[in-house]
Symmetry: C2
Subunit: 104 residues, 2 copies
Amino acid sequence: MTEFNNVSIVKQANVYFDGKVNSRTILFADGSRKTLGFMQPGEYTFNTGAPELMEILAGELDVRLPGSDAWQTVKGGESFDVAGNAEFTMKVRVASDYCCSFLG
Amino acid sequence: MTEFNNVSIVKQANVYFDGKVNSRTILFADGSRKTLGFMQPGEYTFNTGAPELMEILAGELDVRLPGSDAWQTVKGGESFDVAGNAEFTMKVRVASDYCCSFLG
């Protein structure tokens, strides 16, 4: 069971798409930040600020990455990178648990 | 913005009802434990082990507490206690963010 230790967590959820996507912000001692989130089935477009590493912990979705027309299937245990200042879309087919790391 | 500091968080979500209810486990240095969770609209029955304090951070639901036939409305900013080793039911009317503290 993986844990993040010696972190701070923001009590209030981050809520998107009427709560169909929700996450919690985790703050690390080195100043870095991740969110742990959960997505209901549905289609969601997000815009990045910093580049992101999206780890799908469980579930299944298709993602269309910035600058691509192709959809790529991602399942629990897999991950993908998203460029900064870009838009990407996920079609979540099975409710998905994720960890998003904000890079750079 | 309330934060919990110097805690551990379990990376993987706790998933109930096909993910319509999901939560993250927070472990405190004193050995106590809370979950931060999020519920989609729907009706959910849970069984407690330890007694629980349920703080509704946002949203709206009706709860039927153990030993009661009455439904009580609870909104963001309100909370309720649930006895240990008991069953309670929530009818979530507006997607709800919560903090559950396990007592005793």
